[in-house]
Subunit: 260 residues, 2 copies
């Protein structure tokens, strides 16, 4: 028997299918595009084809994320906070006692602090300011003519990160342009960019009164430069799930399974 | 006898020369460039040449603005708040009882509330977030492939302003791109942009507990679309000085004159 979770975010749709036992049977993700419902349906079909089944045979399908209410293939919806909290319990490395989920997405970021029993204790969300989200990296990668996926590996080579004083994306762009003009190596500029983003996320985490045992999810978890900068900023180790971008979808599938 | 004020801002240097009686004898402004001190000196020389004098014959030179401390031609410096407050008393239309100065500059914006006797009562400043500054207009003009100076006249032709939901420059850029794709007329998009900026400035003004009798200075005062949007947002008439960009420089020159 299978359970599915669909995390329909503003930039990406992520779909995860779990077995009854809560094991990841398959997953897919793709840019949301203009039709989040259609994208979700197609991704789910692809997974179920691979598993030799069909969407109809899924016991329960749960949607979460920004566009969750328009996902017609889903049987029910839950909030992102609940999905991420449930996902963290399932996806975190076994030895890690996760108390905080930091999610850095393409257009928003959130900090969820969990109580001892896994319920949500505190929650801070940012979707009003592009600084502190993936858009910060996207904008600055464009200025540097780099791919976002190259930023992490490049920044790890830096031994003298540049200082970016502005947290604002727009003002940081100007700073980066002038650092390039002053012939600062790209690796140092990128490392400085990651520090600036980590500072912003760190402020959110402190506002949420984060507890150690931090799991980093969302696209940010795929960037080793962000992971390192955030570890330095918060002065703790950061845990990563196997598939950082899938945390919400896995959590939604898990809740579909436990509710069924 | 002449008195000079130099407002060395992050984008423009503005220089004003006043007579003993507080009348504007000459003025110049130019992009700050990399040498704010040199730019200031050259602008002052140009003005004094036109007046048939020389920089050495100026009785007192006062610098204000972001780079005021490096303006070597100046005899003294004052804060922008004091300069703008003094400027408002001199540059406002005679019948207007100015109690609030709203300054929208290229990279920052401020709201200064004056007490009955012209001293500073409240002050709110924004130089951390590009939204609410001239950079907002600059960035969105670039997306629309328009000149900043065309925005005001164009928006006044709009009868159905578009709604821009994001105050963030980066997110607003995405909204504008999708409005263009949906064939919204440029005049309506620009009117929506002015409304979004006015909303942000309005929030600052309320935070500063503004008093009616509002003078709009800085580059924002040159844009009739901003003036109208801000009048709608604050639901009061906005007064304009003859040279909105010169308010700080004129105020600095005035203080040079009264202190001499
Ligand atoms: S600080 Fe910059 S990135 Fe953040 S809301 Fe303001 S303009 Fe947007």
């Amino acid at each position: 028997e299978y359970f599915a979770g669909i995390d329909a975010g503003s930039t990406y749709v992520k779909v995860a299918v779990l077995t009854e036992e809560g094991e990841l049977a398959g997953f897919q993700h793709r840019p949301t595009g203009i039709d989040a419902a259609g994208t979700s349906r197609r991704l789910l079909e692809t997974i179920m084809n691979d598993l030799g089944g069909s969407t109809e045979t899924i016991r329960s399908i749960m949607a979460t994320g920004y566009s969750r209410r328009i996902i017609d293939v889903a049987h029910d919806t839950i909030t992102e906070v609940r999905a991420h909290a449930a996902g963290a319990l399932l996806t975190a490395p076994p030895q890690a006692n996760i108390r905080t989920v930091i999610d850095i997405g393409g257009q928003d970021s959130k900090v969820i602090v969990l109580g001892e029993d896994g319920d949500t204790q505190n929650f801070v969300m940012n979707d009003k300011c592009a600084a502190g989200t993936g858009r910060f990296l996207e904008s600055l990668a464009r200025v540097l003519e780099l791919k976002v996926s190259d930023l992490g590996p490049l920044s790890l080579q830096s031994i003298a990160p540049a200082t970016i004083n502005s947290t604002c994306v727009v003002f940081a762009e100007s700073e980066v342009i002038s650092l390039v003009a002053r012939k600062k190596p790209a690796r140092d500029i990128v490392a400085g960019i990651h520090e600036a983003l980590a500072k912003r996320i760190g402020a959110m985490a402190r506002k949420a009164r984060f507890e150690p045992g931090v799991l980093l999810t969302g696209g940010g978890g795929l960037n080793p430069g962000i992971v390192q900068a955030l570890e330095d900023e918060l002065m703790i180790d950061i845990h990563l799930p196997l598939h950082p971008q899938l945390n919400g979808a896995i959590g939604a599938a898990r809740i579909a399974g436990t509710q069924a």
